[in-house]
């Protein structure tokens, strides 16, 4: 999957000055076969970038094309199909279901495509150190724990590009490293790539491309 951005500028960011190497107001490309790092300070529009690529926000000028097609022409059903089979995301606000348990949150996503077995899901929970939380409702878990559930959930579908919006903001270095390993493992298994946004720290991340905002 190739995502082309041509002179894209979100309306809320119009007032801000943007550097020459910024993704905004220039022509850039996100290649789903690559691992991309998006490094920027607060308020530059990392989350806006992530939600715009994911089709949640459409308040921008310029054009964004996915494999040559303008994403503004996609209707809701096309977006849903894309999110089910090609695009996955970890949202900054996680978007988990607080009343469901950690495992139910994972099942809900996995049921759509039966991408991974129950054993594999439990294994991932164990890997990220929250295996004992599987039957706890998400609203009773700490943000760091919830963040790990959200990361696992994003891996339970076929995808070409994974959009990770500050996925490690509530994790310590060690847990971030473990999570990143899992993400790399699953991304490689899917022959996919990802865009990872971060506030400076790149968690020892070995990226192919770096974009700036």
């Amino acid at each position: 999957m190739i995502i082309e951005l041509n002179s894209v500028l979100p309306f809320p960011l119009a007032e801000y000055p943007h550097g020459k190497d910024s993704v905004w107001k220039s022509n850039s490309t996100v290649d789903s076969s690559k691992k991309t790092l998006l490094n920027a300070s607060s308020g530059k529009g990392k989350s806006t970038f992530a939600s715009t690529l994911y089709g949640i926000r459409q308040d921008y000028e310029g054009t964004i094309k996915i494999d040559g097609e303008d994403i503004k022409s996609f209707d809701l059903n096309e977006w849903i199909e894309l999110r089910r089979m090609k695009l996955s995301a970890v949202f900054q606000d996680l978007q988990l279901f607080g009343d469901l348990t950690a495992f139910e949150n994972l099942q809900l996503k996995n049921n759509l495509t039966n991408h991974r077995s129950e054993e594999r899901m439990l294994e991932m929970l164990d890997t990220l150190g929250i295996g004992d939380k599987r039957d706890q409702t998400c609203k009773t878990m700490s943000l760091g724990q919830q963040q790990r559930v959200a990361i696992i959930r994003s891996l339970l579908q076929p995808f070409e590009l994974l959009i990770l919006d500050e996925p490690f903001s509530h994790l310590d270095e060690e847990n971030s490293r473990i999570a990143l390993n899992l993400i790399n493992e699953e991304t490689d298994a899917n022959k996919a790539g990802y865009v990872l946004t971060t506030l400076g720290s790149h968690h020892g991340f070995d990226f192919d491309v770096e974009l700036k905002l």
């Binding site: 999110r83 009343d99 049921n111 579908q157």
Partner: protein, 397 residues
């Protein structure tokens, strides 16, 4: 799991009210439909004879009539006027005998001796609901079928018989016995055998088959062409009001008891109709209640719906989850309403009617099923449209 997620914040109170409203509304609607059908099928003995909604009209006899200045005859223009009325579906002038008629008993058939001068009248066969075989007549028939006014037998039994010291006769006996008929006109005489095949409250005439009267008039008639003085009409259901207006306007007369059935039917139909309209209003209000209920559930679950769409759940699978739940509720409501309606009808209304001497025809379940299914479909479609519109809106936000 979808159901658990989407109905996590449901509002029970609103749901109970909407459900109760729909149940009451639908039950009332079914009940009124069923009752209207029952009233339509309500039959008196009279209608068994003439079919429903038929009445005889005649012009009022006034002082002017008696001194010959005002005729009670219906002119061809009068008849045409009646035929043009929208609520009158059929018009048939009475034909009268143009010869003298006398009747006596046939000796040995069990009737006391009597002789009476009479007259014959006839209306078209299509108004006669007597069993066809009994009313059929041709020149080779063994006897002439006759319909007598019920008052006739009353006069004989409670007036004539007592004063003359003869035996009273039952309807059954009279119908079993033969009658000797003497016909005299156009300078000729003949006798025939007649048999009573029915009694009428509505028509105070001695009715014979139309064919018989035509042939006899030709042969024994004195050649007077008479305009009819009475007309048999059939009116539409529930048009008692128009009939009354017509009678007022043209100074017409009608046997009051004969229109009672028509009158009662009209009034009852109007009352039940109002009840039915109220029921439809209740139904519509509860439909709104349900739409509001699902709107509330949707807005309370808006985070869940939006997020489900974001992680790849299709609009239709979310809509389906809601509709499945609501359809189940509506299905139960519909079945309960039909059940309650029949219970009320069979256990309360029918016994009450029977206690009051009103027999009604058994009405089927078809109309209830039909109305039930129509409202079920209406409820599901209305809610489906509302829910899928709201879910799509949430997805595009």
């Amino acid at each position: 799991m979808l159901k658990k997620l989407l109905f996590a914040h449901k509002s029970n109170l609103q749901f109970v009210f909407a459900t109760l409203g729909t149940l009451i509304g639908l039950t009332s609607l079914l009940l009124s439909a069923q009752l209207i059908l029952d009233v339509q099928s309500f039959q008196s003995n009279e209608e068994e004879l003439f079919g429903p909604n038929s009445v005889v009209i005649q012009k009022k006899v006034t002082k002017l009539t008696t001194i010959g200045m005002n005729s009670t005859e219906f002119t061809p223009e009068d008849i045409k006027g009646l035929e043009e009325k929208e609520f009158i579906t059929d018009v048939a002038p009475f034909q009268s005998s143009d010869f003298k008629v006398g009747i006596s008993e046939v000796e040995g058939d069990g009737l006391p001796h009597f002789y009476a001068d009479m007259f014959f009248q006839a209306i078209p066969d299509r108004f006669m609901d007597v069993k066809n075989t009994e009313w059929e007549w041709n020149v080779n028939s063994e006897y002439i079928p006759i319909v007598l006014p019920r008052d006739f037998i009353m006069i004989i039994n409670y007036g004539f018989a007592q004063s003359q010291g003869i035996n009273q006769i039952s309807e059954e006996l009279l119908m079993a016995a033969r009658l000797q008929i003497y016909i005299n006109g156009n300078g000729q005489k003949t006798t025939k055998i007649g048999r009573v095949v029915g009694f009428s409250q509505k028509i105070s005439s001695i009715l014979v088959p139309e064919d018989f009267l035509k042939i006899m008039n030709k042969q024994y008639g004195n050649g007077n062409i008479l305009n009819p003085s009475r007309v048999f009409i059939t009116i539409k259901d529930d048009s008692y009001g128009e009939l009354e207006e017509l009678m007022e306007e043209h100074n017409l007369d009608i046997n009051q008891s004969a229109i009672d059935v028509v009158k009662i039917k009209t009034i009852v139909a109007v009352v039940i109709g109002i009840f039915g309209i109220a029921a439809i209003l209740i139904m519509l209000l509860s439909l709104l209640g349900f739409i509001q209920y699902s709107q509330l559930v949707l807005s309370k679950a808006s985070y869940e719906i939006r997020t489900l769409l974001r992680i790849g759940y299709a609009v239709r699978s979310i809509v389906k989850t809601f509709i499945k739940q609501l359809s189940l509720t509506f299905g139960i409501i519909t079945i309960s309403a039909i059940g309650i309606m029949f219970a009320v009808k069979l256990l309360v209304i029918n016994p009450w009617l029977e206690d009051h001497g009103i027999s009604i025809g058994a009405s089927g379940i078809t109309i209830s099923l039909f109305i039930g299914i129509i409202s079920l479909v209406l409820f599901i479609v209305a809610n489906y449209l509302n829910i899928s519109r709201t879910v799509k809106r949430l997805g595009n936000e």
